[in-house]
């Protein structure tokens, strides 16, 4: 079966600018993976769509992973 990889890639590029929430994106990817496992007979059309979304999420997540910086802010407050 032919799959439009190029289209998937373009979709990726268009969503590049959106900042993502790591936890919810990761959870969505986990759900997609679970879906593939729980479905006895995967509907190929739906499967392809989900797979495409999974690739998209994985790419966003990996990009997030390469963020190295953690920000530290000192709270100015005296208690005593």
């Amino acid at each position: 079966m032919e799959y439009n990889w190029q289209k998937a890639h373009l979709n990726l590029m268009s969503q590049k600018k959106k900042t993502i929430d790591f936890a919810s994106s990761f959870e969505e990817l986990e759900k997609i993976t679970q879906w593939f496992d729980s479905e006895e007979n995967v509907d190929v059309e739906v499967g392809l769509k989900k797979f495409e979304r999974g690739l998209e999420l994985a790419s966003e997540l990996k990009k997030k992973l390469s963020e190295v910086e953690n920000k530290v802010e000192e709270i100015k407050k005296k208690f005593t």
């Binding site: 990817l29 993976t33 499967g47 999974g54 992973l65 963020e67 190295v68 407050k77 208690f79 005593t80």
Partner: protein, 397 residues
């Protein structure tokens, strides 16, 4: 005695108490051993403070709200307070403001007593421990900036994970200000609005003896950890060290570095996990695709087989047909020749050719004159041509 002033008992005791107030009692602590420790109505505490030889006794009085450490008979303590004569009973007592166990033995004992009490109250219950979010965005860090724990925690945090916002509350982790600092930090973080509130709090410091860890073993601090709306990770010192906060916290880390490990995941592990998920879904999808194409292939095979089977059968039948032809065909052809001869002889045209005619009336071949009437018209067919005639006479024979 006439020249002397007369005063009442209460006036006298007032005078004594005023004099007692002149003693700079805030400048020293009295150290001794506790005996006859009693609590009345859950509020009033009384005990005797004695020197080791037991010859000097100081009666002490305080309330349960003032008691920060767990004490019991035989424990060596230091007491700070003001002396007073209670008018009603004429008794001299120390009004205690603070009592602290001293020496490793007493501290240990006080620690054990408090631990038991909190445990009985359910502060250590495993069932109430909350799980931490896997990917925290905001971390509230409660520790001293000068402590090694601060650097250790951040170093491991940076090694493992990125994109986290750490709100650091600089507190004393030992000394007199430690307890109020830590309590303040807990209430600060818990009072933040939900959007500003950290996903997890980390209370940490390096190792130390019971005296160094007093703030982490303080009852009010333990209760603050217990009451926190935000899940708490507590990491104190070296592997072996324990504190009451450790037991109350949702997650107990062994060291400040370990606290970082418990709070954020490892970047490489998560990267691997993401890759495995992609690989797995791809495999499942390809698996399904090949299963589907296998079904089509199988169906095609079956249909092909049926068609070729039919073909074979047809070929076979044809072969059989031709194989036996030479046996019966000549006889059949002879028979057909015979039939043809007979048929040829029966052909009416051949009879007509011999001079006979066929008479018809109303399209019917005429075989009996009885059906005819005089004057009726009949058709006569000869070998060559036909004509019409009228019946003039008929005979029945």
């Amino acid at each position: 005695m006439d020249t002397l002033r007369t005063i009442s008992v209460s006036e006298f005791l007032q005078l004594v108490n005023e004099t007692l107030r002149l003693i700079p009692s805030q400048e020293f602590v009295v150290e001794g051993e506790i005996s006859d420790f009693r609590i009345a109505q859950d509020k009033w505490i009384s005990f005797d403070l004695k020197d080791e030889n037991g010859e000097a006794v100081l009666k002490c009085f305080m309330t349960t709200w003032q008691l920060r450490a767990q004490i019991e008979d035989g424990m060596r303590v230091q007491v700070r307070g003001t002396p007073k004569v209670y008018e009603r009973y004429g008794q001299f007592k120390m009004n205690v403001q603070e009592v602290e166990p001293v020496g490793e033995g007493a501290l240990k004992r006080a620690y054990e007593l408090l631990k038991k009490k909190l445990e009985q109250e359910g502060l250590f219950d495993v069932s109430r421990k909350r799980s931490l979010p896997r990917f925290p965005k905001r971390i509230g860090l409660i520790t001293s900036r000068d402590a090694a724990a601060y650097g250790d925690f951040l170093q491991i945090l940076n090694n493992r994970w990125g994109g986290v916002f750490v709100l650091h509350m600089n507190v004393h982790v030992q000394g007199k200000e430690a307890v109020s600092d830590i309590l303040g930090a807990f209430s600060y973080f818990n009072e933040l609005s939900e959007t500003e509130r950290p996903d997890v709090l980390v209370l940490t410091r390096g190792g130390g003896g019971l005296e160094d860890l007093h703030a982490f073993n303080d009852e009010s601090v333990a209760r603050a950890v217990f009451g926190s709306k935000i899940p708490v990770v507590c990491g104190v010192g070296h592997e072996r060290d324990e504190s009451l906060c450790d037991f109350v916290a949702d997650v107990r880390a062994s060291t400040p570095s370990n606290a970082a490990e418990r709070v954020v995941p490892n970047r490489e592990e998560v990267r691997y996990e993401i890759e495995m998920m992609c690989q797995h879904t791809e495999e499942r999808l390809l698996d399904q695709l090949s299963q589907k194409s296998l079904i089509v292939e199988r169906a095609t095979n079956v249909i092909g087989r049926i068609i070729s089977q039919q073909n074979e059968r047809l070929k076979h039948l044809r072969q059989r047909f031709f194989d036996v032809t030479h046996v019966w065909a000549p006889a059949l052809f002879d028979q057909i020749d015979g039939f043809e001869k007979i048929l040829r002889q029966l052909d009416p045209k051949r009879v007509l050719a011999r001079g006979y005619g066929i008479v018809t009336s109303n399209g019917q071949v005429l075989k009996d004159v009885a059906t005819l009437e005089i004057g009726a018209s009949v058709g006569v067919q000869l070998a060559k041509g036909s004509f019409e005639s009228y019946v003039t006479k008929k005979e029945n024979n």
